[in-house]
Symmetry: C2
Subunit: 198 residues, 2 copies
DNA sequence: ACATCTCTCTACCATATGGTAGAGAGATGT
DNA sequence: ACATCTCTCTACCATATGGTAGAGAGATGT
């Protein structure tokens, strides 16, 4: 209880920002959710932008940890490894839509905030690109521009993970069982797209 | 000039909402952009929500027209036809990011507004699903749940098309030539994912 | 005992924003 | 000539919101 106020603010803000949108959530709303006064938020974070940035940096950090763990635990085969990473990213994203829901908003946030987030993501992306290039050279992943292939995988996974509501809206995803089937289909889809041409 | 005020408002609002975000753009901003007083906006649209809804409905309508045209002009082969549709959707999305930029915001808008947009999109989705099912039965598209495959294609294309800024942020897309290469890679990616297993 | 640091509170404010009230200019129908 | 309709304007307001001012309670170091 004592000393964890900052962490509780971050957690609450992550969920609220991710689900309702950064602009739609006021400091008062977050404060009420955490159970403190608004000024307490402004003691811990200089401004709302500062809070948004902290949320994004933390989220990126958690994503990185999850991905690292998935990579270490996976087999050497690149398609299996990619599947493991996608599963790892998809799991928290489905349980807690806010995590990836934030990502869809980044490009519309204050430039410095967005930049700070991208700083955090860049090393991850760089590693993925290098990895893809190596495996393409080995012929274990379908040839192509590794940067663009990485971008496509990223777009597909975040597209699916960040917009469950949008997909629900047009009648695609009535429940979580359906969501699991979507994940399965996504993995087959990516595998087919990445398997080297015989 | 006379009588086109409503259309000019819609066009300006589409761009501003799509690029900066619905919440970040005030009625005053739009009015200044169009060159009229704010009240003029409120003469043509009951409220900001009403304007947002009109923008979304128009956007969905334009997408539908573009897609219909692409389908009619394409060959009978399903992979070619899908490629034609993706090209058709991608083109205006790249030239005018606002068009698809809006889509990423739908799930966070007022429920009635989002619902109205989904109403517009549903028939398109339904057609796509029916089409995929038929071609899967014929063995001309890789087997799978047609609804989920449609969802994946949708997620991939919108993911790529709506987040050029995000992709740019992590160092992927410095210019339009790169964007064209991304489109080419996207088409190969989708083709590989949808080609029936031999 | 005192000073300092950590943390949270109440009270308040300036500004932005969606929306209202109501007038009026010009075109069109009868 | 008059009424009505279309369209746009100025002036104004209520509210939400990010942020400031400044106090004070409790813990910790010397």
């Amino acid at each position: 209880m004592a000393g964890d106020t900052r962490a509780r603010i971050l957690e609450s803000a992550t969920d609220l920002f991710g689900i309702r949108g950064v602009d739609a959530v006021s400091l008062d709303t977050i404060a009420a959710d955490v159970g403190v006064a608004k000024q307490t938020l402004l003691y811990w974070f200089e401004s709302k932008d500062d809070l948004v940035q902290a949320v994004l940096v933390q989220t990126a950090g958690q994503l990185a940890v999850v991905i690292e763990a998935a990579i270490r635990a996976s087999s050497d085969d690149p398609l299996d490894r990619i599947e493991a990473v996608v599963r790892a990213v998809f799991r928290p994203a489905v349980r807690r839509p806010s995590l990836l829901g934030l990502i869809g908003q980044v490009s519309r946030l204050a430039p410095e905030v967005a930049e700070r987030f991208h700083d955090e993501l860049r090393p991850l992306v760089h590693r993925a690109v290098v990895y893809l290039r190596v495996e393409m050279d080995r012929g274990r992943v379908r040839a192509g521009d590794p940067r663009l292939i990485a971008a496509l995988c990223y777009a597909t996974v975040t597209g699916v993970a960040t917009e469950p509501e949008a997909l629900r809206g047009v009648g695609w995803l009535p429940n979580t069982a359906e969501l699991r089937r979507l994940r399965t289909e996504l993995l087959a889809f990516l595998r087919a797209a990445l398997t080297p041409a015989s």
